[in-house]
């Protein structure tokens, strides 16, 4: 069973719809026992790192998510769900996050001509080379050893995608990235 973590961090409908388009049933859950039993876990997220961490704790989900991400079972973090796998975020005045990956999350610098949030389709190098995905974000994760796809914006090269065994995570939204996004989800479903 594929579980989508519901921790009040944005809209899960698009994620459910994308997996449904691939013929995969999903269970949206706030139950740590369901996460512990799931074959695959999707950890989405839109919004701010501070409130996301507060929600995870208030719902008693922090340990369950940490365990699922470190379990070796397939795990997919999306957008904010990728950022809070890192150790710290500058957002909300600075917040310690899950620390499954070692790096930092920072705000884009103010560069004339580069709007924040960065909204739109951007290319990713590495195994995703030649493919463009849909991004929406004001903060970025720095490059870490697990980075497998990099993207550039506002003079900054940042992590678009990480892989650590069967833990995959992406800054972009595969569920909103058309055919190439569905292809990536299919690759993850096969991992």
């Amino acid at each position: 069973m594929l579980a989508i973590v519901d921790y009040k961090a944005g809209n899960l409908t698009s994620v459910r719809n994308a997996f449904a388009a691939l013929g995969v049933e999903t269970a949206v859950t706030r139950d740590p026992a369901v996460l512990a039993a799931a074959d695959r876990v999707v950890f989405p997220g839109v919004g701010a790192a501070g409130s996301a961490m507060a929600n995870l704790r208030a719902l008693g989900l922090e340990d369950a998510v940490r365990t699922a991400a470190g379990s070796g079972r397939p795990f997919l973090g999306i957008c904010l769900g990728m950022q809070i796998l890192f150790s710290h975020s500058e957002e909300d005045g600075g917040v310690d996050t899950l620390g499954i990956l070692g790096g930092q999350v920072r705000r884009f610098p103010d560069v004339p001509g580069f709007k924040v949030p960065a909204i739109g389709w951007n290319s990713v190098d590495g195994p995703c080379a030649g493919r463009e995905f849909y991004f929406v974000h004001s903060y970025y994760a720095e490059l870490v050893p697990e980075t497998v796809g990099r993207t550039e914006y506002a003079g900054t090269t940042f992590t678009a995608m990480v892989k650590k065994g069967r833990l995959w995570a992406c800054q972009f939204h595969p569920e909103k990235s058309g055919r190439v996004g569905l292809e990536l989800l299919k690759e993850w479903l096969a991992c």
């Binding site: 409908t13 388009a21 701010a48 001509g113 055919r179």
Partner: protein
């Protein structure tokens, strides 16, 4: 490189996509879900739906249509019209839309921008504005905000309103020129560029697109981050791919594979 977005706009009236000039002479163009799929398959980077009769008729947005579009396409889309409160926004987001566009509502109640950004994140809240050339002394930019489908003048300066909306938490601003709307004679570069330079959030040019070169011009001369197209694609005069070929050839960063 972040690409410039091409966004077909679908005005929905009684469950059908329509197109008129300056809100008049509307003609039926087709089913919103069918058209969304066709544009998505054809290379559109995003879609926007305006439930154009919702506000005037005082009825809520067609949630069933939003759900059907969200199931059918895998690209982002925004929905506007008929939003009157935070719970309306929540219903639209839960139905699967990425963004909510507020226009007249935000003029009447600017706090809705801040409340929406706090509840859903600023990337969800799009301010739509309908500026018109004006000699109103309260509007030093020379452009005044209109509301309710260009029917009411507000006395608000367009550039000041854009800056205030961005400060309140709008994640994106759609500048829909009343003067250019429906003319297919090109975007209004002056006000679009002034707003794009005045705010640090993405600006979407709207109104006046008639040929692919118009998009190239608004991206190059007015620093728009995205552009809305309607009549020029709805009538079949151009495809999204034809528009993007011209953009790409002109050196505009463009998503060319989909």
């Amino acid at each position: 490189m972040l690409t410039k977005r091409v966004i077909p706009c679908l005005d929905v009236r009684a469950g059908r996509v329509t197109k008129g000039v300056k809100f008049e002479n509307n003609v039926d163009l087709g089913d919103p879900v069918d058209m969304a799929v066709a544009y998505s398959d054809g290379g559109a980077d995003e879609l926007v739906f305006y439930d154009i009769t919702a506000s005037a008729e005082g009825r809520p947005i067609d949630i069933g249509m939003v759900e059907a579009v969200a199931k059918a396409v895998r690209i982002p889309f925004a929905v506007g019209g008929g939003i009157s409160c935070i719970s309306d926004m929540e219903r639209v987001i839960l139905a699967g839309a990425e963004k909510i566009s507020v226009n007249s509502l935000a003029v009447k109640n600017p706090q809705i921008i801040a409340d929406g950004a706090k509840a859903f994140g600023r990337q969800c809240i799009v301010l739509g504005m309908d500026p018109v050339k004006s000699d109103n002394p309260n509007c030093p930019s020379g452009y005044e905000i209109t509301t309710r489908g260009f029917r009411e003048f507000t006395g608000m300066d367009a550039v000041e309103w854009a800056k205030r909306a961005a400060d309140l938490g709008a994640g994106e601003i759609v500048v829909n020129s009343v003067d250019a709307d429906g003319t297919r004679a090109g975007f209004e570069l002056d006000i679009t560029g002034r707003i794009a330079r005045a705010v640090n959030v993405p600006v979407v040019a709207s109104g006046g697109a008639g040929k692919p070169e118009h998009l190239v011009t608004v991206f190059e001369k007015a620093q728009a981050d995205a552009a809305i197209v309607a009549g020029m694609v709805h009538t079949g005069a151009y495809t999204i791919a034809q528009i993007k070929d011209v953009m790409h050839a002109a050196g505009v960063p463009t998503r060319m594979t989909w």
